[in-house]
């Protein structure tokens, strides 16, 4: 069938600059560029280009420029080009439209409507370069009170706290499974987490044996497919996360196509080589909150109550009540993934339409747990579309204990958010299980870039905290008086628990 779709991008090559080195030909995994020896020229197939900019960055003479194809269908405010294009695509294939990364729709981001406070006159701001500024965060259940005894000025502690995760920065790497991303990326995340004093999340694809040495900084995930879950794996991690849902695709499962299941991926996932790895939509042993409680305690029993158990849920309409149930079911950490959460592959219609923004989810869950007097019983981790330290700080002020980042981490090591992760051909070597492409990520360099990102964000958060006159992150956490809203309705402000700017 003839495709009615014009190419999204056009490759513009400056022939005067091009030295025919073929870097672009070798770098492009979508076969956009090819060398024609007869004419000594490099030709480009525009329709293959995904605008990942790999060739542009790698071209030694800056001869390339990828531009939006101006020759697209005429669009209007209602029938924009995306809507027209999607319909044509489906008319040609009859399938579900797949996409990668988090939602790209502008109306779902509320961080831009929140502003942060600073001290003036009545309260001295603190310079984090010269005075202590404490970022350490502990995740896990906390008691309401401690049983202490005082003898001759010495305090002795009678209460024993449940296991906690120790974070030197309130930022962790979110779940990305081996298989969806390359082993080199997994290793880079693991090494960076270890170095920065935080945690990475294995995702639902197990943990390669070579990375067990980073187990003290790993949160090992148990998801609906139970891929790679065995006793040694559970014991290897610092915490275990039960994945119920994902912000990019609440209510549906996952599907790693057989071609991505290489012998290495197969070994880690404990499935035959080349078979599809299908994660069912629900966990088939969890059809109710009491079933979740059973799995939480099964995992606690299996690991001798030595690790906190996290439960990750997608932010959906009734999130506050669900989170309350999860806490009461015994979760030590509740991770909530908002509507802008990212993914390796999801139906586009679900990614862009299902779930609620993380801002409202954090605010309503934190408040609900406080109203019920159970906020101490679990830590709250927020995920889904954090783009800067400003977003992170606002999430903590709204009530999150820590955040998960994934897209930001991938961007740090090369990702350009081209949204084609589901093809498995990521030219940056990230979202692929092809070892040849995966080599493009050098864990020495990538882990350094990740540590740099965390250090930079950490310093920025410290600067903002110092400005507020706060020198410990626990005084920022849930401190919504340090936020003000702009361009929000009364109802939005009420749910966020935030005053309007000027109030």
């Amino acid at each position: 069938m003839k495709s009615y779709l014009p190419a999204d991008y056009t490759v513009v090559r400056d022939e005067k600059k091009c030295i025919r080195c073929k870097a672009c030909v070798n770098q492009c995994t979508y076969d956009t560029h090819s060398y024609d020896a007869e004419d000594d020229i490099i030709r480009s197939k525009d329709e293959n280009c995904v605008n990942c900019k790999r060739c542009v960055v790698m071209c030694p003479t800056q001869a390339l420029s990828i531009q939006k194809n101006p020759n697209v269908y005429r669009e209007n405010a209602s029938w924009n080009y995306e809507a027209i294009k999607d319909i044509k695509k489906q008319a040609e294939t009859g399938g579900v439209l797949l996409t990668g990364m988090g939602s790209d729709k502008p109306h779902l981001t509320y961080w831009n409507h929140l502003l942060v406070n600073a001290s003036q006159v009545t309260n001295p701001s603190i310079d984090p370069l010269r005075e202590p500024m404490e970022m350490r965060t502990y995740l896990g259940a906390k008691p309401d009170a401690l049983d202490l005894e005082l003898e001759n000025g010495d305090i002795s502690l009678k209460t024993k706290l449940t296991p906690q995760l120790t974070l030197e920065t309130p930022i962790m790497f979110s779940a990305m499974s081996y298989g969806a991303i390359s082993l080199n990326v997994h290793e880079s995340l693991a090494r960076a987490a270890t170095q920065a004093g935080t945690y990475f999340n294995t995702g639902e694809g197990g943990l390669d044996k070579t990375l067990y040495k980073h187990g003290k900084h790993a949160i090992v995930q148990v998801a609906s497919g139970r891929f790679g879950v065995h006793s040694e794996y559970l014991h290897a991690g610092a915490a275990i996360e039960i994945k119920i849902g994902q912000g990019a695709k609440p209510g549906i499962g996952g599907h790693l196509p057989g071609e991505k299941v290489t012998p290495e991926v197969a070994r880690t996932r404990m499935i035959p080589v080349g078979t599809d790895a299908i994660s069912p939509a629900p966990q088939h042993d969890i059809y109710s909150i009491e079933d979740l409680r059973q799995l939480i305690y099964a995992l606690k029993e299996a690991t001798d109550y030595s690790k906190p158990i996290s439960v990750k849920i997608a932010a959906v309409h009734n999130i506050a009540a669900i989170a309350s149930g999860v806490v009461r079911a015994g979760a030590d950490i509740v991770a909530i993934d908002g509507v802008r959460g990212s993914t390796g592959a999801a139906p586009k219609v679900i990614r862009d339409n299902v779930g609620i923004p993380i801002e409202f989810a954090i605010a309503s869950v934190d408040q609900r747990l406080r109203d019920e007097g159970i906020r101490n019983r679990a830590s709250l981790v927020a995920a889904g579309g954090f783009r800067s330290s400003g977003d992170v700080l606002k999430a903590i002020a709204l009530g999150a204990d820590a955040v998960y980042i994934a897209t930001a981490a991938l961007v740090a090591i090369g990702c350009t958010v081209c949204q084609k992760c589901f093809t498995g051909k990521c030219p940056w070597g990230i979202a692929t299980s092809d070892a040849w492409i995966g080599k493009r990520i050098n864990p020495n360099i990538a882990s350094e870039r990740l540590v740099n990102l965390l250090r930079g964000w950490n310093m920025e958060i410290k600067d903002m905290m110092g400005g507020m006159g706060v020198n410990a992150i626990e005084s920022l956490r849930g401190n919504r008086l340090h936020l003000r809203g702009v361009g929000l309705t009364d109802t939005q402000l009420k749910i966020l628990g935030v005053k309007m700017a000027g109030e």
Partner: protein, 380 residues
């Protein structure tokens, strides 16, 4: 260059703005009662630290004839509020005696109606509630439900007197020269982050706990939300309120000693905790993990009092002043040394409080308890 003798002349004849509140505490460690003379004189000396938008006194041991009854001081911003309040009080308590509080015309701004009640809890009541819990419940209900009534004192044999004006004028207004107590804590206010109104003046009180505070809690937002989980409702539009509730929660309800409470409100830094010996490290880490939301951040120095005890505490990086002194059986705490020297020129001991370390005076204890060995050494 200006000639030296002209330096103190202000050509515009208006006062320079001095930011900051004044706090002063005076206590007889034998429990002997004394008049308002010295406390008023001392706080008057720090006049420039306040701006006339709030002053107040907490006095312990003032109602010896009614010492078995809770003394409620209530301010009414409307007549209607009094009816509602009386109904709530009658629901919870037997009212032993009530009267309009004794006042005289003074240089204060728009005084509301002030009423004093002596009450006892009723015999038929839920078995699981202590007398104190019932009082707490009644106070929270009056403050949130009546809209225009505020209980500003609710302890036994003690009372809070406060309002909008300079502290010396508030003393005049409430005829404090007629009272005697063994412990006085005093506040002159320079409001910065909340309106100057009668309920917002210091001291803040719940049961027999009072707090006077100089500073601004940058952690107020979360301190408040944490305390709300335990039934404390903040209605007085100022950050100091959370300090009073935090002390009530930790010391009265959870029975933690002040030595522990000070480590919760102004804990050591993680670096310091990490360097401690294992047992102490584990304890202090657990305190911060559990009570992180009660860390009082931002600059503050406070005087906290309840029957038999007066405590000074500053924030952990010591951003506000606090001076302590003793002379015979009398203990002094003050924002400024001059105020202490004015009422007691010859002191036995005088020292500056260290950040995050409490100074505690106890009746009968005769000596001050200081956590820091270092400070002890410095004194010698």
């Amino acid at each position: 260059m200006n000639p030296l003798d002209r330096l103190n002349v202000n050509p515009f004849n208006n006062d320079k703005d001095f930011a900051g509140c004044s706090i002063f505490g005076m206590m007889n460690l034998e429990g002997k009662r004394f008049s308002s003379k010295d406390p008023v004189k001392a706080i008057t000396n720090m006049h420039d630290r306040s701006n006339g938008l709030g002053g107040g006194f907490a006095v312990y041991g003032i109602y010896p004839d009614f010492k078995d009854y809770y003394a409620f001081h209530v301010m009414y911003l409307s007549r209607d509020a009094k009816e509602k309040t009386d109904r709530i009080l009658a629901y919870y308590f037997n009212i032993i005696y009530d009267e309009e509080m004794q006042t005289r015309p003074a240089n204060v701004i728009d005084p509301p109606l002030m009423w004093r009640y002596f009450v006892q809890t009723k015999k038929n009541r839920p078995a699981n509630l202590t007398d104190d819990e019932i009082v707490l419940q009644a106070v929270m209900r009056i403050n949130t439900e009546t809209g225009k009534a505020f209980v500003f004192s609710s302890g036994k044999d003690m009372g809070v007197f406060k309002g909008v004006g300079f502290p010396e004028d508030i003393a005049d207004f409430f005829c404090l020269d007629d009272y005697e107590g063994y412990l006085w804590s005093v506040h002159g206010r320079f409001p910065t982050n909340s309106p100057g109104w009668w309920g917002g003046a210091h001291p803040f009180n719940v049961l027999d706990w009072t707090v006077v505070h100089n500073g601004e809690l940058s952690s107020y937002g979360i301190n408040r939300r944490y305390l709300e989980m335990y039934g404390y409702k903040c209605t007085l539009q100022t950050d100091t309120e959370v300090l009073a509730y935090a002390f009530d929660l930790l010391m009265r309800r959870q029975r933690l000693p002040i030595e522990v409470v000070s480590q919760i409100l102004a804990p050591p830094f993680w670096d310091e905790i990490d360097a401690m010996e294992p047992k102490k490290r584990e304890t202090l880490r657990a305190l911060r993990q559990t009570y992180g939301s009660l860390l009082m951040n931002g600059p503050f120095s406070v005087i906290v009092a309840h029957h038999g005890e007066m405590i000074a505490l500053t924030d952990r990086i010591k951003l506000r002043p606090m001076i302590a002194a003793t002379k015979g059986d009398t203990m002094y705490l003050s924002s400024e040394e001059a105020a202490i020297r004015l009422v007691s020129p010859q002191l036995d001991k005088l020292w500056t409080a260290r950040g995050g370390e409490p100074i505690i005076g106890r009746v009968g204890g005769k000596k001050l308890i200081e956590l820091s060995q270092k400070t002890e050494a410095q004194q010698k």
